[in-house]
Point group: C2
DNA sequence: ATGGGTGCAAAGGATTTGCAACATT
DNA sequence: AATGTTGCAAATCCTTTGCACCCAT
């Protein structure tokens, strides 16, 4: 049954009509925790839905982030990427290899300081940048 | 004396050679807390340094953020902007008017959760998005 | 048949690159 | 002279837009 497909279910929960393309895009996000860009999803989806266009993926992902089905991540100033995990968590960008990691145990603070009063907050993102463990080893090798 | 100019001083402190352009760009950041884009700085700088180019501003701001003289802010997926205030604080993006606000009393958490171990963190950004107080009033008018 | 969804081609726009000119020590 | 800095023009490349087609209700 369609109803048991996690991607299908999440679309319904978020009030999004489930087309083939939308299901496939969300399924990709839910099964690949690699913070893909539009293009990465496009290349993969094309295998299963050869007629799919980048435009659809752009539009769909933007809508997903507006409806709360995915996070739009702007941690890398060169390219937007997406995350299907919508439980609050933080992200890490490695300045060396460009990879984006999840910190599931860290999340954006949700208390409200006095200067935040009157602002209607719908979304929060917490980004860290630096060098990931793997690249630290690479760097050490380079130096020694 | 040059040494008393805050922009000049900060450049020295950050290990950046103070050229005319660099001083002017940093001075703009230190006196305008509007989170300007490259183009906004460009338009203003051109008045005082008519030969200045966008390229220089792109390169200079990138370098500033690498050397810790400014923050690069990617809260708006369409354009990067910059902030000369390098004390830790949070930012708010209004989805309605596009303005970026500071929350000086809020800052990115700096404790380390278990899944962050081994990562070398150099930078942290905390972004909130929603509707600012001014735009909430506008919206109310529209509806009523 | 009507509205929503998709996809193509083209336009738009921000950012980077290559390189030559220039300044500074 | 040597090194670092700047600026122009061109290239790049991600993203959006306009519009026609298509599908489902």
């Amino acid at each position: 049954m369609m109803n048991t497909d996690p991607a299908y279910k999440k679309l319904i929960e978020c009030g999004i009509r489930p087309s083939i393309q939308r299901i496939e895009i969300l399924r990709y996000l839910l099964t690949h925790h690699t913070h893909p860009t539009v293009d990465e999803i496009f290349v993969d989806l094309k295998k299963r839905v050869p007629t799919v266009s980048r435009t659809t993926i752009y539009n769909t992902l933007r809508m997903f982030s507006e409806k709360g089905a995915a996070f739009m991540i702007t941690i890398d100033e060169h390219r937007v990427c997406y995350d299907g995990t919508t439980e609050p968590h933080a992200h890490f960008y490695c300045k060396h290899c460009g990879k984006v990691y999840d910190f599931h145990e860290m999340q954006p603070p949700r208390n409200v300081t006095s200067d935040m009063e009157g602002f209607h907050i719908e979304d929060a993102q917490l980004y860290y940048k630096g060098i990931c463990p793997a690249c630290q080893h690479t760097e050490e090798k380079k130096i020694s």
